[in-house]
Symmetry: C2
Subunit: 231 residues, 2 copies
DNA sequence: TGGGGGCAGTGACCAAAGTCACTACCCGGT
DNA sequence: ACCGGGTAGTGACTTTGGTCACTGCCCCCA
């Protein structure tokens, strides 16, 4: 089973630069865990026990408000690591993590990972790089929350999906939402109803066609334009 | 003048653990710069040239929207470092920085700092810790933007100021805003008018008394309560 | 001493966000 | 075949946020 673990490690940018021997040493320290869709990996404020690596599936990092609303901070797929940070500063997890899909993850305890970093300074530098990109993403979220409307954020998501998983045809770009409106709302930092309403409105305006979770983007250029429209 | 530089370095958590000799070596690499109130240290998207350390004064890290609104990400005082992150990932500055007050800062070029980190692994670990706390603060901002109202955020600031620089008396806790409503609005992620209006409203409700930038908090407990009120 | 410039307060709006309540649909299980 | 849970759409409404325009204040300086 360690062979399996090693391929995961190798796909993780954090450890890509390791030698075979180092990889094996680290693999021996990693334990494999499975989580079902919706299952909680850890809650906000839990003491940090170690580092997680995603082998398969998707993990959602999010904040939960007193009123029950969620705000997604990140969605991590295969090859991503998360919770690197509290491993070092010794604090608690600043947010919760749950499985968006059934997921296999590797777990490395705090102590093991810290020691490993001390022995491998270039891994420490990689950690900084990873945390850095995370920081950029968070700044991006702040920018969106502070400067844009729900409508604009929704358009941004649709455009991103169109780029990534869109199938073009004569009527437009076909794409499919991979999650419920509820989940999408959590990513946008709003509520279910606004997602539904804004989608309807974009359809009424002729930018796209909605059928359940299937969306056909009719006017890509127009949408891009709407994204920046100040009013 | 290097002696001066060294005391600044010593006050910076990032370098607190260095020996005298290491400190001197680093000090030789650092250059001192002065910025006047309002002056721009770098703009968003500028290529990253190096790391900054605050010797005196306050530096404001912020995002600027297309419509001209500002969102403050951090305010760094003496002893703080900033822009550590793009030094490592080689990207551009994700936000702009300007002097909130007249400020002296130390500057260490990207190359010098990277080399120094490679030679001193414990400094790299410190960098991770510093970036980590920055990450926590950003998550805090996201949480506030996503879950709270301008009113609640304003109350939070007032309470913080009351804790930090408040002078208690029989009528209440006296404190003074150190910045304009405009600047305060940028920290809260809103506009001047809403700061003004919400302060007026809090006064009308009897929680505090406003006179220009002087504020007397009449009902600390009540304010704390209002901060969490869901409706 | 009389402008200007920056800052603060406010009324009148308008648009966006969010809440509540209800309906309807789909789908899987017993 | 029916029930129940999860999901989606929508009308009606309230609250919050933001804009615009204007006034007044204070203070510095020519």
């Amino acid at each position: 089973m360690t062979g399996d673990v090693e391929t995961v490690l190798r796909r993780t940018p954090l450890f890509a630069s390791l030698t075979e021997a180092e990889m094996r040493a680290l693999a021996a320290r990693a334990s494999k865990r499975h989580f079902q869709r919706g299952e909680l990996l850890f809650g906000e404020g839990d003491p940090c026990t170690g580092l997680f690596l995603v082998a398969s599936g998707k993990i959602r990092i999010f904040k939960l408000s007193a009123a029950g609303r969620e705000q997604v901070l990140a969605v991590e797929g295969p090859g991503s690591s998360f919770a690197e940070l509290p491993v070092f500063d010794g604090g608690n997890y600043p947010a919760a993590a749950s499985a968006l899909e059934d997921a296999n993850v590797l777990f490395i305890s705090r102590k093991d990972f810290q020691n490993f970093c001390r022995e491998h300074p270039d891994v420490a530098l990689k950690v900084i790089a990873v945390v850095g990109s995370r920081l950029r993403r968070l700044i991006g979220i702040i920018e969106e929350l502070s400067f844009t409307t729900v409508r604009q954020r929704l358009i941004a998501v649709v455009l991103r999906l169109a780029e990534a998983g869109g199938r073009p045809s004569k009527e437009g770009v076909h794409l499919e939402l991979t999650m419920s409106h509820q989940d999408l709302a959590a990513e946008l930092g709003t509520v279910r109803e606004l997602v539904s309403r804004n989608l309807s409105r974009l359809q009424a305006e002729g930018f796209l066609e909605v059928d359940g979770r299937k969306i056909v983007v009719k006017d890509l250029a127009g949408l891009k334009n709407e994204q920046n429209a100040s009013e």
